[in-house]
């Protein structure tokens, strides 16, 4: 244990030295090349800081360490402050003040719409919601919470029924034999192209059977036995294929973010690529 302390100090001082060297080199490089914008020492500092924070977060892949903790805490603190400011300026100043006070609107530099007494209701509900911070009056917060839950449910009920239910049911009304003219024409005009009858029919079969079996799987009022069990089994296979595709898509998304970060490091920080 006592041996790790000098190592810790060495790594710390090395990191600081590398940071300063990188900052100076970056500032020198940027000011000499000029570039499209006149990037100053300040911007070189921020690029270097961003690079070091990126590396600090990535160091977690090796193991948990103080640099990762520092970067994470910094991120948490900055994002909390950012969202607090955004919440104040966009919700309170952007949406509330223009509808209740022309004086305050002028003070904050936002256009005053007109006084609307109904906007005092969300103000009161918001104050009630903050009551949860107190243990004595915390029960008051349940009322605006109930209002939020009820309103959201009411608003969403029709939207979801329309977009995610009726329209989706309508989307399963697919012909299983697309443009069917008989067995003869089907084989004589056989084509594997995306717009061909065979491909379209196969697609529709997959949509219909997949939807049917997926719904059967989520039917809880019957045991999964016999034909019903078979359909349920096919349903879970369809679901697993979907989850696999979703997994692959998500992997692609995560790799994209890694590519973005590495591109920043190689291009903006190290200048290895143009």
């Amino acid at each position: 244990m006592s041996g790790s302390r000098p190592w810790g100090k060495i790594i710390l001082f090395s990191s600081i030295a590398l940071f300063v060297i990188s900052w100076l080199i970056k500032a020198g490089v940027l000011s000499s090349t000029g570039g499209v914008t006149d990037i100053s020492v300040r911007d070189a500092f921020f690029v270097t800081l961003a690079a070091f924070l990126t590396l600090a977060i990535l160091s977690f892949l090796y193991k948990d360490n103080p640099y990762y903790k520092f970067a994470e805490h910094l991120f948490v603190g900055v994002s909390a402050a950012y969202w607090m400011c955004v919440g104040f300026w966009s919700t309170f100043v952007g949406n509330f003040i223009p509808r209740v006070s022309s004086t305050l609107s002028g003070f904050f530099g936002v256009p005053f719409k007109e006084f609307n007494v109904f906007y005092l209701i969300p103000l009161i509900l918001g104050v009630m919601l903050l009551m949860r911070l107190s243990s004595k009056t915390g029960w008051i917060a349940r009322w605006p919470l109930a209002f939020i839950v009820g309103t959201t449910a009411g608003l969403n009920l029709i939207r979801y029924l329309r977009s995610d239910f009726v329209n989706q049911v309508s989307n399963t009304f697919v012909p299983l034999l697309v443009e069917w003219k008989g067995i003869g024409p089907f084989f004589s005009g056989f084509s594997l192209s995306a717009s061909g009858q065979f491909t379209l029919s196969l697609t529709n079969w997959v949509i219909f059977v997949g939807t049917f079996c997926g719904l059967v799987y989520f039917f809880f009022s019957k045991e999964h036995k016999g034909f019903y069990g078979g359909a349920s089994r096919l349903g879970i296979w369809v679901l697993m294929v979907t989850f696999g595709a979703s997994f692959g898509y998500t992997v692609m998304g995560r790799v994209s973010l890694l590519v973005g970060r590495l591109t920043f490091l190689f291009q903006d920080w190290l200048g290895l690529i143009s």
Binding site: L61, Y62, W83, V86, G87, S90, T91, G94, N95, G109, P111, K113, L155, R159, Y160, R162, S163, D164, N167, Q168, S170, N171, A194, T242, A245, S246, G248, Y249, T250, V251, M252, G253, V255, S256, L257, L258, V259, G260, R261, L262, T263, F266, L272, I273
Partner: protein
């Protein structure tokens, strides 16, 4: 494409995977940090050697392209920046491509956002793309940045009937009624196409539910890969088309460059990212295969 880089990439990674396979057959464990190194190499080497592959638009991406292409010049297109810096590497190539395409076709572009961080990213896009590549376009005549409004789906609920109930000015404080672009634009129903670019909440799904569907307004989406599978059921009846992840962005960029020579020299981050993306995916697929081989060998030995 740099063939040397391609050879180095495949050589390095191939050798490493062979080593993995040998260890797997022997039933030896592989330290997970070595797997991280391999993924890092699979991503870093193509970036350094600029390995790219050609892309062809799939039907779902082509549908969006064709929609913008076939709208008559001067049509109104709304682009909503519903993402933050954490998703930007994935979806910003899409939003930039939509912006370029719309302006090149002479459409009127209306920019807004349901995410607070989207406003600054939209502003950056206007500075870096609109003002530099389309200097003839005039703010308030050819494009307008309405900015961000808090309220998520609630904003859509309001502007589907009256934009001016949420937006009185643009992001710079200029009165909307003084802008020629806002003449005869009362609500979202006056738009010829809505495009939402994002991947969280609110995102493309909320735009479909609260704007596209109830308003019968043509709607297209650019989504982060995480959310894309959930949006496929909306295509093609409720969504004109969808760009899913960086692959969708790369396909759209390729289509744009193929048909518009003026964009031949534009940066194509989507296409560039598909090189490392492809290699990383191949490595992951190899890991899955090797892992399964190892699993069955060990199970047989135990049996």
């Amino acid at each position: 494409m740099n063939k040397v880089g391609l050879l180095i990439s495949f050589g390095l990674i191939g050798a490493g995977l062979l080593w993995f396979l040998i260890r797997a057959i022997r039933g030896q464990e592989v330290e997970r940090r070595i797997i991280f190194v391999f993924i890092g190499l699979a991503v870093a080497v193509p970036i350094l050697f600029n390995i790219t592959f050609s892309e062809k638009a799939s039907p779902i991406v082509e549908a969006v392209y064709d929609k913008i292409e076939n709208l008559s010049s001067g049509s109104k297109i709304l682009i909503s920046y519903d993402y933050g810096p954490s998703m930007a590497p994935e979806v910003e190539p899409m939003s930039n491509a939509f912006l370029r395409h719309s302006l090149a076709k002479g459409h009127k572009v209306y920019i807004m956002g349901l995410w607070a961080t989207g406003q600054s990213l939209a502003g950056a896009a206007i500075e870096n793309i609109v003002k530099k590549e389309f200097p003839e376009k005039v703010n308030g005549v050819d494009y307008v940045n309405l900015g961000y409004k808090a309220g998520n789906q609630g904003v859509l609920n309001v502007i589907i009937t009256d934009i001016r109930k949420m937006y009185l000015t643009d992001v710079a404080g200029v009165n909307l009624d003084s802008m020629p672009i806002m003449k005869n634009v009362k609500s979202l129903r006056d738009m010829d196409l809505l495009i939402s670019v994002g991947g969280g909440l609110p995102g493309v799904k909320e735009w479909v539910q609260f704007a596209g569907d109830p308003g019968h307004i043509p709607m297209a989406g650019g989504s982060a890969a995480v959310s894309a599978p959930l949006l496929y059921p909306y295509w093609p009846t409720q969504l004109v088309g969808l760009l899913g992840g960086i692959k969708g962005a790369a396909e759209y960029e390729s289509e744009l460059v193929r048909n518009y020579p003026r964009f031949a020299k534009m940066p194509q981050p989507g296409v560039k990212m598909m090189g490392p993306q492809t290699l990383a995916h191949l490595v992951i697929m190899a890991f899955i295969v090797i892992g399964n081989i190892s699993y069955f060998i060990i199970r047989r030995r135990q049996g």
